[in-house]
């Protein structure tokens, strides 16, 4: 479980995060949603320590990440897997080397054991036998799956996904969402995903945190986001005419029940 307590973060005179508190539960897909530029990515980067918070606490299973030095943070970071928006795969390495990289750096394993683990991870994301490809030879969806394989290579307790299905076609996006959900449930990982994608919100949002102007504006799950009356949330979720029609039909359906 990850707890965020009263976190504030500013860049210069601009305050991005304003007294944010939230809890991301174990074994659930926790989504951070909100408009662009409202602080979602900054919050995620603060949690993983890429940005230092101005004040507040971030607790990984009760361990205060903000008060740790570099060495202590390294031990927590080895429990974190992260899937980046652009996958962030190492260009100069093959798929196999990318997935093997964290094992090579931190695990005392033989080459054979590492290869077994790499193959297991690649099999888990349906990329068996693609070991020798370079990232530039892979499609966007494949790169995301390699990113997931690399993120789970170390058996992480926490998985962070920054817009995991941005730039993907709807079918591949659903595939990635399903994969994230399956991995979260299977390995009981605390997953935190930033997304704009409403399909993801409705499909995998066990816990949803809506950030608005750097504030924790609304929290809930995929079931109660449909019925919320919060104007900022509804204007974000039902921004398109199509989504508005869906909402109306759901409400109508519920009335008829």
């Amino acid at each position: 479980m990850i707890e965020v307590k009263h976190v504030n973060k500013s860049f210069g005179k601009t305050q991005i995060l304003k007294d944010i508190s939230a809890t991301f539960e174990k074994g659930k897909v926790n989504l951070i949603i909100g408009q662009s530029g409202h602080g979602k990515t900054v919050l995620a980067k603060c949690i993983v320590g890429l940005h230092e918070v101005d004040s507040g606490e971030i607790l990984f299973n009760g361990r205060n990440f903000c008060k740790m030095n570099r060495v202590e943070r390294t031990s927590i970071r080895q429990e974190i897997g992260m899937l980046f928006q652009g996958s962030a795969l190492f260009d100069s390495m093959t798929v196999e080397e990318n997935v093997m990289f964290p094992l090579l750096m931190f695990k005392k394993m033989t080459k054979k054991e590492m290869l077994t683990r790499v193959n297991f991870c690649l099999e888990r994301v349906n990329l068996t036998g693609r070991n020798s490809l370079f990232p530039s030879e892979c499609s966007g969806g494949m790169q995301k799956r390699i990113g997931i394989a690399r993120a789970i290579a170390m058996n992480p307790k926490y998985l962070f996904c920054d817009e995991p299905n941005s730039g993907l076609d709807p079918k591949t996006a659903i595939l990635i969402d399903t994969l994230i959900r399956e991995i979260t449930y299977e390995y009981q990982i605390t997953t935190v995903a930033i997304t704009h994608d409403m399909n993801s919100v409705m499909e995998i949002g066990d816990n949803i945190l809506f950030i608005h102007n750097g504030n924790n504006w609304w929290t809930g799950n995929k079931n109660n986001i449909i019925s919320t009356e919060n104007p900022e949330v509804t204007s974000f979720v039902y921004a398109s005419e199509f989504m508005k029609e869906i909402k109306d039909s759901i409400i109508e359906k519920n009335k008829n029940k």
């Binding site: 570099r70 970071r77 992260m82 652009g86 260009d91 964290p102 090579l104 931190f106």
Partner: protein, 247 residues
């Protein structure tokens, strides 16, 4: 103010770069890769530049030797002195600042804007040490080899140019090279190139690592890295000459 801030950031970066690598076996492998990228891949350029400029130095010296009081071996002596003292360590380093420096700045800069450095940090890897330390080590180890290679080829270039132009005989040229040859000059040149190698890699890495933005900024930082490395080499050259040759 911004310049001072930059200096501070640069020296802070160095304190992080020179921390013990997470895993020696990975460092060793990275070091060999960098020896190839920074060192071996620079050999053709160094060979080409050295042999031609060595030839030009010899020809220009010979063409200005109209005074009959000057002995004919002076051409060899001047070619040797200018090659060892200045051309091979300094000019070759300036050329490598362009080739190696821009390459390092754009490589690390691209890794920064594509979040590969963030990925390393999140895994718990000291990204600065992982990326920069093997490059610095490779440059410090291989630059002296490149410079010795350059010295040899320049002198050979000068010899070929003189003999082909019939401006000097092989014996006279070789006598000139050996005349007043001082080994301390070679050590001075090698000391300079070690410092220049360090400057090129660390300054270029600094510009690449702290780039913000996209591909346009990566290009700009690459140019900035070359300019700053070149200026730093010239300043360091002046200071080292003062310290070593004139002390």
């Amino acid at each position: 103010m911004k310049l001072m801030e930059g200096f501070g950031k640069y020296f802070l970066m160095l304190t992080i770069v020179f921390r013990a690598p997470e895993k020696m076996s990975v460092f060793r492998r990275r070091l060999f890769e960098e020896l190839e990228h920074i060192g071996i891949n620079s050999i053709p350029l160094v060979a080409l530049m050295s042999s031609f400029i060595g030839g030009v130095i010899a020809l220009q010296t010979a063409s200005n030797m109209s005074n009959p009081l000057l002995p004919t071996y002076t051409v060899g002596y001047i070619t040797q002195s200018s090659t060892i003292l200045e051309f091979s360590p300094t000019i070759i380093s300036l050329i490598l600042a362009g080739k190696v420096g821009s390459n390092i700045a754009s490589e690390i800069g691209t890794m920064r804007v594509t979040e590969q450095i963030d990925a390393l940090e999140i895994m718990g890897v000291n990204s600065l040490s992982f990326l920069v330390l093997p490059k610095v080590t490779a440059a410090v180890l291989f630059f002296p080899i490149l410079v010795i290679f350059s010295m040899g080829l320049s002198l050979v270039g000068g010899w070929i140019a003189l003999v082909l132009s019939d401006l000097s005989s092989t014996e006279t040229y070789v006598y000139g090279i050996r005349y007043y040859f001082e080994m301390s000059n070679v050590w001075y040149a090698l000391t300079k190139c070690v410092v220049f190698g360090f400057i090129i890699v660390t300054i270029s890495s600094f510009y690449g690592y702290y780039v913000k933005g996209g591909s346009l900024e990566v290009g700009r930082s690459s140019t900035q890295a070359v300019v700053s490395s070149s200026v730093a080499i010239l300043v360091a050259n002046f200071l080292l000459t003062q310290m070593i040759l004139l002390s």
